[in-house]
Amino acid sequence: MQIAILVAKAFIIQQVILGLASFCTWVERKGSALIQDRIGANRAGVYWNPKNPLLKIFTPIVKVFGVLGVVNTLLNDAIKALLKEDFVPEGTSTFMHALGPFMAVLPVFLAYCVIPMAPDFEVAGYTIRMQIASLNTGVLFILAMGSIAVYGVVLAGWTGNNKFSLLGALRASAQMISYELAMGIAFATLILSYGTLDLYEIIEVQKSGWGINPLYYPTGILSFIILFIVGMAETKRGPFDMPESESELVAGYFTEYSGMKFLLFWLGEFAEIALFAIILTIFFFGGWHIPFVELPEGVWWAALVGHGVLMTKVVFFCVLQIVIRWTLPRFRYDHLMNLGWKGLLPLSLFNLMITAAIVLWGMNLS
């Protein structure tokens, strides 16, 4: 029974990831069109006219989705990618070439293991926690997975057997390693102030007040700013997309990928965006807590509502990241490194010391 529950949880959480990633894909396509004053994808599905009466019922929905570009981005693009030729450049091993996208997705998905998706609830006598693994090193685990994520990039760049790929990979890995430091220290700050590494407990602590609230948690705003910037840099997006800057490096480290493998990088990237949105929500915005409203504990519908609240917040941050991505121009590479090493790292260290002092004077939140 335990195993069955575990499998079910894993399945549900996987669906959540995929749903978030698909949503982000759609926002990326259609939202960018909106921002750039274009129409964007609006054709596929519009002219769908099935003979089958059963299918005919769905026609209006499909047409609406078609106009909104959902069909194009989520269905047609996926089918196109699946049908494309899988191209492997000369002089690299096929296995290593395939390992790249795999390693780009795997750590991100693994990181979701420690993320609680809803408050606990009871079903048929079992207390169910919507979290695949309840480790006592929760936050550190995310950090570990983040550090492994470099391998996907490095492998992709290396097996591309191409200078553009290699340059992109070098840039990407240097960028990720640099920003990981600030991320680790920002995490340490949060761990200090919450006094626990367990994400579920961190959410529960915020029942009385969110982490972003300066009255509740004085260094929260600074931590949030640092972590938000670091998150965007770690996902190699937004103004931080030097590794794949199309004007310089074609497509950076995944230049030599096509079809489904390319799509996997895409998936990994959006899953990472969603992951950071979830982390921000959990650390600073109270997870599934609604201000001034207290949900009953252990009831399934409360869990459902909580999940909905969590997802709403997460979606907000996903959209925010995408909007920023399409709004701000790209950094220059040395600016990026300066920001990471001379800006965020000292700032996060400073923040850590302040927090440590506050904790020392007895203001531990839990």
């Binding site: 290593m96 090193t137 950090l143 570990a144 983040g146 990979a169």
Partner: protein, 167 residues
């Protein structure tokens, strides 16, 4: 269950370890080592050393090995020619290793007499490790930070190219 997990992990560790040594292409070796290190992390986790497991992944897999792969990529190192006297060396190693193995087995089987059991008194959780690290072992901890500082400076000094003289 525990036993099965252990044997699986042990098998993967030994396998990847052999791969590290046997692979001609250094990048294959490096990737095998990454798998090996993650296996070791899993072993740590099975020994209730959760903190060490995570740090193992962060430090070894996430930092050290990335650096190694970085260097391999930067220097574009190709496959090596095997050493001429490798069989002689292998023989020497096997001989010495066999002696070592016998000697240590002797220790394990005779010195300990009874098979030592694993206890579960204190686990290596983050809180416990942190407590010990910042009380009993605070001096080694500080010394370690100094060591890392020295290593940073040293590596920069060794690896940096000499500035060209401006004419």
């Amino acid at each position: 269950m525990e036993t099965i997990v252990f044997y699986l992990l042990a098998a993967s560790i030994v396998f990847t370890g052999v791969a590290v040594v046997a692979m001609r292409n250094p990048i294959h070796s490096a990737l095998a080592l990454v798998c090996n290190l993650i296996g070791v992390a899993a072993i740590f986790a099975s020994l209730q050393a959760h903190f060490l497991a995570t740090v193992q992944v962060i430090v070894y897999a996430g930092a050290i090995m990335v650096l190694v792969i970085f260097v391999i990529m930067l220097l574009n190192i190709k496959e090596e020619k095997p050493a001429r006297e490798r069989f002689l060396l292998l023989g020497g190693v096997v001989l010495a290793g066999f002696a070592f193995f016998v000697a240590l087995s002797f220790v394990f089987l005779h010195q300990f007499q009874v098979t030592p059991e694993l206890t579960d008194e204190i686990t290596g959780s983050v809180a416990n490790i942190g407590r010990v690290l910042f009380t009993k072992y605070v001096f080694p901890f500080e010394a370690a930070s100094l060591l890392i500082m020295a290593a940073i400076v040293g590596s920069i000094m060794i690896a940096k190219t000499k500035r060209r003289e401006v004419s």
